[in-house]
Symmetry: C2
Subunit: 402 residues, 2 copies
């Protein structure tokens, strides 16, 4: 866009560009497209039509779950139509002569370690994550300084409807974590968790609560975050060296969770939240949950500090889903005494997509056989993706702080 | 990223990828890069080194202000080094065999009508827009329903430090608009306006205030937003038809401003803000400003409603910068009586980058000659870009509500 053309547009002397090649009338633009972009669009059977401009390219591909070669049509643009896709939010990439990039036709989201395109296959049951005519809470950007990481960090804080208009009420708090390669914006941007909560609260299905969404990336000064952000490096397509057997990981990690994050959360984040917001005190007003890597982190943090948390949730990420998990010894034996565990942990929630494999269900059954109360939820037809996590959250939130 | 690799990363069995081709030690990664990305990087003389992976491409170019051909080096990647770039935030594009895309190495920002990459050339004077050890306000995402557009809209609202801890104080409000092809996130994401305000307030240079950032795109049901978002269509590279002489514009617009936006703002946005936040009443507690198209919109809205606004700012976008502007008749003659205008308008602020041409300065001088008080600010060495607008805001905010 030249400045001349911009000024011409501002002055109204250039008529808006007509789109000469519209998709079929029954192909509806994805809700995640930039305004005005007709492609990608979703056909009634959930096949998706993509279109990409790459005038001089030799080979263009779309990867959305699996890869689809595009073909150059008479309009000079590259086209592909997929097989039917699952419902929900899917990241996808465009490959132009080997360059892996985001489709400029969609909004970009931080996922997979970079700013990626995405498509939304409409869920007929999706009203629960859409804006409805109900009171709305806020999502607040909150800067704070961490003494552990020695950096300014940014969290997002959901406050429920009415928070500002009753200066006395104190609220329970859920600490909610994103997954690998995502960030503190994942839950409200991709997950639409604020809208889910607004709708649950309006329906009387969940208690009003504060939700704190922070970034899993927490390293001490001088440490590298390369493991967490490996995809970021990979997008630069530097040839990946073979794994070095026995090489130390770049980030100090507990069993699938960062001990630095736990320290940061307990030392800096929770005190900041409790000083800044009207928070009800005590462990029975404090929950922790996360998806994928954020679920692993939740179990690492919360099981080691049950004096601080009474509610635990893992969505497509928990602990013990690998088969070799020893209930007697894992996590310092916290599961060894079922009665004691059940007394402390009010809700232990395990969510998973039906297409993600049997590990989480087997873990839930193993817990149940050992007498440990837990709630298992399986999202039908979804994989390791945001619709699994939106649905898991919808099931989990109503159980909290009862 | 395959699920297998993801799980391997989570399990810590894959060592983080080493970057084999680091940039020169004096080339510092742009602050806007995704974490871990070494390129693009900025050399001491503000030349920028870019690197792009496009293994099978024939031609790769970077466009940042002007175009730079990239060359494929021995590492199999495409490289380019620019001439020295101006300070500040610049959107840029990568062209891979004709496909115009965002560089996957950087964060993406909504600018130019799509989610684009950007680079930040460090400003030695940039502490004013960086997080400092001062009290921080919040930026709040606020959903509301518009009766004019019949849609749910999203605004962002800056509340100053301490807003939550003193339930009595009421604050003046600045309505602050983004430019063409940007959205309601532009001012706090690209502009870092919340950090600028935090720092100004902490230094005692600006009064604590609420800042409301909304989206210029406001159309009535059934109307097209195609003009506002024309670049969005262009990214699909549909050949642009020649302008049709006399064709009606897609969006009803006043002189460089949308009357629908004005209606929406007065009917829906301002009442929502004044109901939701602790807002000091009256026109002398209400300001409006914007950049580029948002500046034009500010003049269209505010000059027609001086009963509502006492402070007006335009940054690289005002009214009257074209030479044929008639002070006696324009905007229903609001400038015709200088004394009356000066009594009503406490501050009329015109900001511009020194590289943007002489129109705004000439307009300021014309106003001054006619006896109309105004403040002119020129940002040295900057063009139609965010550093001009950050600096303009830093000059404008201290003048408000005195």
């Amino acid at each position: 866009m030249t400045r001349t053309l911009l000024l011409a547009l501002l002055a109204g002397v250039v008529a808006p560009a007509a789109v000469s090649a519209q998709p079929p009338a029954d192909c509806r633009p994805s809700a995640l497209n930039i305004p005005g972009a007709p492609y990608p669009c979703v056909l009634p059977d959930n096949r998706v039509m993509f279109r990409v401009a790459a005038p001089e390219a030799q080979k263009v591909r779309i990867r959305v779950g699996k890869g689809f070669d595009m073909t150059k049509e008479a309009d000079g643009l590259w086209h592909a139509t997929t097989t039917p896709l699952p419902l929900g939010f899917h990241y996808y990439t465009v490959q132009v002569d080997g360059a892996i990039v985001a489709d400029p036709a969609t909004r970009s989201f931080f996922g997979g370690g970079w700013w990626n395109g995405a498509i939304e296959i409409p869920d007929p049951d999706g009203a629960y994550f859409a804006p409805q005519d109900v009171p709305h809470g806020e999502v607040r950007q909150r800067w704070y300084h961490s003494s552990i990481t020695q950096t300014w960090r940014r969290a997002y804080v959901y406050t429920p409807p009415g928070y500002d208009h009753d200066a006395k009420t104190k609220y329970p708090v859920l600490y909610l974590l994103h997954g690998w390669g995502e960030n503190e914006q994942g839950w409200h941007v991709q997950g639409q968790v604020d809208l889910i909560m607004d709708n649950l609260i309006a329906a009387g299905k969940a208690r009003p609560m504060i939700i704190v969404m922070d970034n899993l990336n927490a390293v001490k000064p001088g440490e590298s975050a390369a493991l967490y952000f490996a995809r970021g490096v990979l997008t630069q397509a530097v040839p990946e060296p073979p794994p070095t057997p026995g090489a130390p990981p770049a980030v100090r990690r507990g069993p699938l969770g960062s001990t630095v994050f736990t320290d940061m959360m307990l030392t800096d984040l929770i005190p900041m939240v409790e000083k800044t917001y009207r928070v009800a005190p005590g462990r029975e007003n404090r929950a922790m949950a996360g998806l994928s890597m954020g679920g692993f982190q939740t179990f690492t943090t919360a099981l080691a500090h049950l004096d601080r948390f009474a509610y635990i949730g893992g969505f497509s990420g928990s602990t013990g889903g690998r088969g070799d998990f020893d209930l007697k010894t894992a996590h310092d034996g916290v599961f060894a005494d079922a009665a004691a565990f059940n007394k402390k942990v009010k809700v232990l929630f395990l969510g998973i997509g039906s297409e993600e494999g049997p590990g989480t269900k087997a873990f839930s059954e193993k817990l149940t056989q050992a007498g440990i109360h837990n709630v298992f939820f399986e999202s039908a037809g979804t994989a390791h993706e945001w619709l699994t996590w939106r649905r898991s959250f919808r099931e989990f939130a109503p159980l909290l702080f009862r």
